[in-house]
């Protein structure tokens, strides 16, 4: 080996080393860039707006703050919990800090994911340190006021009432951010823009059983009517507590209380109004646990179990494949014998054709998974909301996740996964402001009796088909009576024709409407 060649080899080795070094550095740089882009969520500023409070099993407002890179046009923000995903598309005008609000399920394992340009980042917010379980003796309210400090003075924390305070600017446009609250109070606000933004959310929250309170003077002062209470389709009745008097409007399962600005408002008024609604005008609370959207009793106790899969009907694809297989095997040998004298052509052609048919056959989707729906409509006046109990067997191809696009048109549904029997999945879906279902002859439940019979006897008659209830309606009626009749909840109940519109757009699913009832609370 000459000296020159040795030099050349050494030089080439150095060059190769530099190339390798460059590659490693470039790779590391790319990884760093990727990880930087992936870590989009600002962990410090992403927070629960209701912190440190939050109702377990319900959705709480979460402020998601993330950094948008250069060139990003939009971001997909998702709240991922067991069986339910809420998504929101956020348009990004310029690079840098961006934020949005979305409901976050107060439950372990619930997290948020931000996806920008195909890269995603996940973050699990901390659970609230002061969980607010539902209770008749303990209320959880959201208070919106221009002066939050004054509102805090007016509503000091206590054992019977916990409030989260928000300024006018923080008004939610979506009722799903108010899911965990028993009541919403609006104090001293005469801001028309605030109401315009908040009105729909408040109304939907109320039809699902929420209690809202506001001043009466607001409407005349702002000239906005109807705003919160004066809905043309809601019934008004006088209401007073202490020095505070006003009107009570009923809409759906909830109610709105307007109180005079001249009266002295205090936390006692708020509590009295909530009790007035939740205790159904009685002096004592109903028995049993307090109502909460987090409770999904029928699945826990096995009342509403799936009835099995609907037998699939043969699709056109099956007939096409079977016909082609038959044609191929019958005509293939005849045609091949006409075209060629070689004996191996026909079996080979059939083998190739059959292989193609095998592939096509495997492309078929499986049988549709049967998803069963029970519905309970809460109706008052001309307003109604619906709670649907949805379940399916956890078979292959059955839906696993309920995805809700928060910005989508249509009803603002909110789903939560419910505990179900082994081998099944279940969801409870709340839909505000649903069109009134066609209802049959109503019966009145008063003090545990319907038409002079103990409610269980009536339920047994319904199961035997001796009333106006069919099998599915009788089952949901049976559960409802067992759940509420003992608790002093009087109501007018009627069988209803369930809504045939699928609650969501799951592919390859057979929706089976098992039954529906409509319930109108009767107050003491």
């Amino acid at each position: 080996m000459t000296r020159n060649s040795t030099f050349t080899i050494q030089y080439s080795r150095r060059a190769a080393l530099r190339v390798v070094q460059f590659c490693i550095l470039s790779f590391a740089f790319c990884i760093c860039c990727g990880s930087a882009a992936a870590q989009a969520i600002n962990h410090d500023e992403t927070r629960l707006l209701s912190a440190p409070n939050g109702r377990p099993g319900c959705y709480a407002p979460l402020q998601v703050v993330f950094d948008a890179p250069e060139g990003a046009k939009s971001a997909l923000v998702e709240c991922i919990s067991d069986g339910v995903v809420l998504t929101r598309q956020v348009n990004i005008e310029k690079a840098g800090r961006a934020s949005t609000q979305l409901p976050w399920l107060v439950a372990k394992g619930s997290k948020v994911r931000v996806t920008i340009n195909g890269q995603s980042d996940e973050f699990t917010p901390a659970m609230p340190t002061r969980p607010q379980p539902p209770g008749y003796g303990r209320l959880y309210a959201a208070v919106f006021a221009p002066d939050v400090a004054r509102a805090r003075d007016l509503l000091p924390p206590g054992d019977d009432l916990t409030c989260d305070f928000y300024s006018e600017r923080e008004a939610f446009e979506d009722w799903r951010l108010l899911d965990g609250y028993d009541a919403v109070l609006i104090l001293d606000t005469a801001n028309a823009a605030f109401y315009a933004k908040f009105w729909a959310a408040i109304r939907e929250h109320r039809t699902l059983g929420g209690v809202t309170l506001s001043h009466t003077g607001l409407q005349s002062g702002t000239g906005i009517s109807p705003i919160l209470g004066a809905e043309p389709d809601e019934e008004a009745s006088p209401w007073s507590f202490g020095e505070c008097a006003g009107l009570r409007y009923v809409g759906g399962a909830g109610a709105h209380y307007e109180f005079s600005r001249t009266g002295r408002f205090s936390r006692a008024v708020l509590i009295a109004a909530c009790r007035h609604q939740r205790w159904r005008g009685d002096d004592i609370p109903p028995a049993g646990p307090a109502p909460s959207r987090a409770v999904a009793e029928p699945f826990e106790r096995g009342w509403l179990y799936p009835q099995g899969q609907e037998p699939p009907s043969a699709p056109a694809m099956f007939f096409a494949l079977a016909g082609l297989a038959l044609l191929l095997t019958v005509l293939g040998p005849i045609v091949a014998a006409r075209l060629t004298s070689r004996a191996w052509v026909a079996p080979l052609a059939i083998a190739v054709g059959a292989t193609a048919l095998c592939a096509l056959g495997l492309l078929q989707s499986g049988p549709p998974a049967t998803v069963e729906v029970f519905s309970v409509e809460s109706r008052a006046g001309d307003l109604a909301s619906t709670r649907s109990y949805i379940s399916c067997e956890a078979i292959s191809g059955a839906p696993e996740t309920w995805t809700i696009h928060l910005d989508a048109e249509g009803p603002h549904r909110l789903a939560r996964s419910a505990p179900a029997r082994v081998g099944c999945r279940a969801w409870v879906v709340d839909t505000p402001l649903t069109p009134l279902l066609e209802a049959g002859r109503p019966v009145t439940l008063v003090s545990g009796k319907i038409e002079g019979q103990i409610f269980r006897d009536y339920a047994a008659k319904a199961r035997r088909g001796q009333t106006g209830y069919d099998e599915g309606s009788a089952r949901i009626l049976d559960w409802w009576l067992e759940r509420f009749a003992y608790r002093g909840c009087d109501a007018r109940i009627a069988p209803a024709t369930p809504d045939r519109t699928p609650p969501t757009d799951w592919p390859n699913v057979f929706w089976r409407n098992r039954g529906a009832i409509t319930v109108t609370p009767v107050r003491k």
Partner: protein, 205 residues
């Protein structure tokens, strides 16, 4: 005996006819079958019986005819699979896909045995094809009966014979997997008899 060229059509027709029979609700109820994975399982059982019953090559004297008979067996197997997969709308069960290896092994064994019978008949004369088919039917079917009687009336099972019968294997391994190479006796039987058929036809024009 149907001509070889219509044997794939017979396979497809038998499977479709069986499915039609099982589509009648009262008959389906009598068999304890629903329109789900159990229907696919029943069709797989029927499909696995077809190599024993349907495959019957014409007695041959030339080696190329043995190859063509093998091609017809392949065509039958794939036509049966295509028909079975057309029923994928019934269930997403992976069972039909998992049993493809077993099905192929059954067709290989049947092809080898019947080819040997056809070659013997072509060379020696006499009903060798029928004898081979009957012998293969006995070998394939009797262990299932033995298994049944053993389970019913004795405490000792004859499970060591399970690889000899496709149905037997299916009964013993309901979740038979593609990748588990437990079909070697069937493949060895089929390969050996097919080679013997080729040797018997060697040198004959």
């Amino acid at each position: 005996m149907a001509p070889s060229r219509f044997q794939p059509a017979i396979v497809v027709a038998i499977l479709l006819a069986s499915a039609s029979v099982l589509a009648v609700e009262s008959w389906r109820a009598a068999f304890g079958i629903a329109i789900d994975a159990s229907l696919l399982r029943a069709l797989v059982y029927i499909e696995l019986a077809l190599p024993l019953l349907v495959l019957a090559p014409v007695p041959f004297k030339q080696r190329s005819e043995a190859c063509v008979a093998t091609l017809w067996a392949v065509a039958c197997m794939l036509a049966g699979s295509a028909t079975l997969f057309a029923f994928s709308f019934v269930s997403t069960s992976p069972f039909p896909l998992q049993t493809r290896g077993l099905c192929a092994a059954a067709w290989v064994a049947s092809c080898g045995v019947t080819c040997l019978g056809a070659a013997l008949e072509g060379r020696l004369g006499g009903p060798w094809l029928v004898r081979a088919r009957v012998a293969w039917l006995c070998v394939a079917a009797l262990p299932a009966l033995w298994h049944y009687f053993a389970l019913e009336y004795a405490t000792k099972s004859l499970l060591h014979l399970r690889p000899l019968s496709p149905q037997w294997l299916l009964a013993a391994y309901p979740d038979a997997d593609w990748e588990t190479f437990t079909y070697w006796p069937l493949l060895a039987l089929g390969g050996g008899t097919w080679l013997a058929a080729l040797i018997l036809t060697r040198g004959r024009a």
